[in-house]
Symmetry: C2
Subunit: 204 residues, 2 copies
DNA sequence: CTCCTTCGACCGACCGGTCGGTCGGCAGCC
DNA sequence: GGCTGCCGACCGACCGGTCGGTCGAAGGAG
């Protein structure tokens, strides 16, 4: 059971929401604390009442995304009947999450090395944990289908898949003909074609 | 025939090389003109002797990459026997180019919207021209193989492929077991599996 | 009910420092 | 002697962060 959020917690998350919006639009460095304060409707000193400094904003944003991503990935894997299905759902859910949080992921992907070096290590550790979940599904799938040839290492294959999926933050625009979920299914289909033992019938 | 580069041209390209190095390491906004000047071994005013302002550095970097990319893409397509071969070579050459110019592409991908709005339009036009070359190969390949089912639109498919390929700037590190060319071939193989009418025999 | 204390939320004014960019001048080569 | 390459010194703007202080609600004492 999560405790009811205090007024302070609400303010903090409002600040974070506004920060994501402005960081994604103007960049972390180019955004001043005054802009954020104005966006939230507070003064700059009040921002510092809630957060130690500018860096902490970025750390919180990045860390929260990691938490959410890890949680989603573990849930997805637990619910999937086979490693291949898990892999497919993992990719679909990443596409959906990315499409629905483009600003957030833009900040995470592009401001990654503005993170303070002392925390970067621990954050990287959690990012690796996420990637490892995906790699494990590939390995499990290959182990279950000894005839399959991946043509590369599982790590490279996962980097390729996650790259294709993450890149959607650069080109996806809402309001197109596809819902994020449809888009995710189509992309996952193309990405997993090379390791799917039962490709769709229409393949000639 | 290209004219012999003047001394000034050489200095300018030295400045650009150093700028790419520092921009990629510290970010465009976080990099001061003084740092660049120190890196080149000049004073700040001398930088302004060669370039109008900081923005122009970024524009030149970005524009040069576009030129080179378009040139490479056109050459590759012209030399390929079939659309599928062209597509494969296009992806391989992108991977190789990316691996060998990680800093450069990092700057282009991550500082894209620091570009001045008045030039952004024309630069975007050229970027679209590059993407269009790739899309055209997909269309031509599908037209030549009526039985093939792409499972999505050519545009989405190209975004997916280029995303996977571009993302390599985030994870590729030289000195690994694969050369960039090998890496490119492996990745292109996986990416094109879903539209390859003659997949490798070991597939089952 | 009232008075008084306490405290979180909040802000105007300010500071040290940095940044992009400029100015005026010097040196050396054609 | 003019042109190119070069620089020390400087400027206005702005930024992250702090300081000192206000205000109103909560809460206990009488």
């Amino acid at each position: 059971m999560t405790a009811a959020p205090s007024r302070a917690d609400e303010q903090r998350s409002r600040v974070l929401r506004v920060s994501v919006e402005i960081f994604s639009r103007r960049g972390y460095r180019a955004t001043s604390m005054n802009e954020i304060a104005a966006g939230v409707g507070l003064s700059k000193p009040t921002l510092y009442h809630y957060f130690r400094n500018k860096e902490e904003l970025l750390v919180r944003i990045y860390s929260d995304v990691l938490d959410e991503s890890l949680r989603m990935a573990r849930e997805t894997v637990a619910a999937a009947p086979t490693p291949l299905a898990a892999l497919r759902e993992l990719l679909v859910s990443r596409v959906v999450y990315t499409c629905e949080n483009r600003e957030l992921l833009k900040v995470c992907f592009e401001e990654e090395d503005e993170l303070p070096p002392d925390l970067a290590e621990e954050l990287l550790r959690r990012r690796r944990a996420f990637e490892r979940i995906v790699v494990d599904q590939v390995r499990a799938h290959l182990a279950a289908h000894p005839g399959l040839e991946l043509g590369t290492s599982p790590t490279v294959f996962v980097n390729l898949c996650l790259g294709a999926v993450n890149w959607t933050y650069k080109w996806y625009r809402p309001g197109g003909p596809r819902t994020p979920a449809e888009l995710g299914r189509e992309m996952a289909g193309a990405l997993l074609a090379s390791i799917d033992p039962a490709p769709p019938p229409a393949n000639r």
